[in-house]
């Protein structure tokens, strides 16, 4: 992974705070959901299963973003994004909406962090279901930040 402090990449600080703000904006705009910073000492472990979405970017700086939502929150996401009835939801649609969310967040993050002049190649996002042990391991990862969205714990990971 490349050096995020490289001054040639622009003046904007590249940090999880930038990503946190963008995730919050996109959730609010696309799904009418509100995010706030979470204190991971105060939150209980949510109920499995969880969905873990990842996307990679390559360009002047390379790295990857990850998002972990509970499946319940992912369902709420697509219901809000598309105005769907919960009875019509299929697991494939839930995963698709989650991947699309990460895709949008990644694009906005790269512009915010590196400016509009640099071109990056984004991978097609992937998503997998994880269990509580995997969620706990992800939560304790040094690259992971905890957010609260609609009273549910959300993890996001930024590696540069």
């Amino acid at each position: 992974m490349s050096d995020p402090t490289n001054p040639s990449l622009g003046n904007n600080p590249i940090s999880s705070t930038t990503l946190e703000e963008i995730l919050s904006d996109v959730l609010q705009e696309q799904a009418f959901m509100f995010a706030e910073h979470g204190d991971d000492q105060e939150v209980d472990s949510p109920s499995a299963p969880f969905m873990h979405a990842r996307i990679q970017f390559n360009g002047p700086c390379s790295g990857r973003l990850g998002l972990v939502f509970t499946q319940n929150l992912c369902s709420e996401l697509i219901i809000n994004m598309l105005g769907m009835d919960s009875d019509d939801l299929e697991e494939e649609d839930i995963a698709d909406a989650f991947k699309e969310l990460l895709n949008v967040v990644c694009g906005k993050f790269l512009i915010a962090a590196f400016g509009p002049m640099l071109k990056f190649d984004l991978s097609i996002p992937t998503v997998e279901k994880i269990d509580l042990d995997q969620w706990l391991a992800q939560k304790s990862n040094q690259h992971t930040t905890v957010l609260m969205v609609e009273d549910e714990v959300v993890l996001f990971e930024l590696r540069l």
Partner: protein
């Protein structure tokens, strides 16, 4: 006069959101066709009268760029206007795409008012 629009995106969520925005836009949209990648889109373009293509870039099988290049080489499709919708909206990327002849672009997350403004402008100036 009403128009047929083809939406190309590998994400069902993105396709459904765009199709919904087009249907509620108040614009004279006759039908919204859907394709999951550039290859499917080219087939649909050859089988249907399409006035405007709105496409994502990063898709499996055939990307948006490959589809735009194929359209440019096809005498029947070269004049169909293309609008790109992407989360990857760096100035360099957009300059490259304008070089390929795209009419405009929309940055994700797309807003209904942006979709309406761009589609209206492209259709009014000669779809």
């Amino acid at each position: 006069m009403s128009y047929n629009v083809l939406v190309v995106d590998d994400s069902k969520t993105a396709r459904m959101m765009l199709a919904k925005m087009l249907r509620i836009s108040g614009l004279p949209i006759n039908e919204v066709f859907i394709a999951e990648n550039g290859s499917d889109a080219l087939s649909m373009l050859k089988e249907n009268w399409i006035d405007l293509v709105i496409t994502d870039l990063h898709m499996p099988v055939m990307t948006g760029v490959e589809m735009i290049e194929a359209m440019a080489k096809d005498g029947l499709l070269e004049s169909v206007p293309v609008v790109v919708v992407t989360s990857d909206s760096s100035q360099k990327r957009m300059d490259d795409l304008r070089g390929l002849g795209i009419r405009d672009y929309l940055c994700k997350p797309v807003r209904p008012e942006s979709v309406k403004a761009v589609v209206e402008e492209v259709l009014e100036t000669g779809a």
